[in-house]
Symmetry: C2
Subunit: 118 residues, 2 copies
């Protein structure tokens, strides 16, 4: 048994805990991942639909972020080879496990904004 004297003690003060936090941040950070996930959480969508819903994102970034999210098993991509091509994106069940994380990030964001701006 190791003593954890820190103020985040129950979060574990060992390196593995820090690594796990870093893993999460790596997946979620950047301006676009969460907005895309939220957009898809409201229903499966095609590339151009997402592009319209997620304001300000460029084609290049959307393409890249969708790839990242797929690699992390947070969304699925399904192609029908019609012409013009139709590609559907949808969130996975794994993405739904992000629920609590998003909730805490949102809650703390609100607390923090009050603290800083007043």
């Amino acid at each position: 048994m190791k003593k954890c004297a820190g103020k985040f003690a129950h979060n574990g003060c060992e390196k593995t805990a820090l690594m796990a936090v870093k893993d999460s941040l790596d997946v979620l950070s950047g301006s676009w991942k969460l907005p895309i996930l939220v957009s898809l959480a409201n229903g499966p969508k095609r590339f151009n639909q997402i592009s319209k819903e997620v304001e300000g994102i460029s084609d290049k970034m959307l393409s890249k972020e969708l790839k990242d999210l797929e690699q992390n098993h947070l969304i699925t991509r399904s192609v029908q080879d019609t012409f013009p091509p139709t590609v559907m994106y949808d969130v996975t069940e794994h993405a739904e496990t992000l629920d609590k994380v998003i909730k805490e990030l949102r809650d703390w964001g609100i607390i923090h904004r009050k603290k800083i701006i007043g």
Copy 2:
């Protein structure tokens, strides 16, 4: 009353929720913020002590990150004008409200790693 049909529905599907999440990520993202906070959570420390504990960080980054954290009221900085100068950093009470966020990020990080690597 607005309907929220999405899979993250209880997180709010409105823009304010997304903004709050973004606020949190802006404060926490990057490689160093959380490691520094965790290091300080185990007790107040001086610049060089943090530099040794947070592996791999450069003086320049440490200096910058400490400034950011101070601006966000997550740490305090206190100087004694001895020679050589002594500067103490400590976490604030506000930083302790990050507790649940860190816990969820850690938990999800572990879930996610299992999912991806197996």
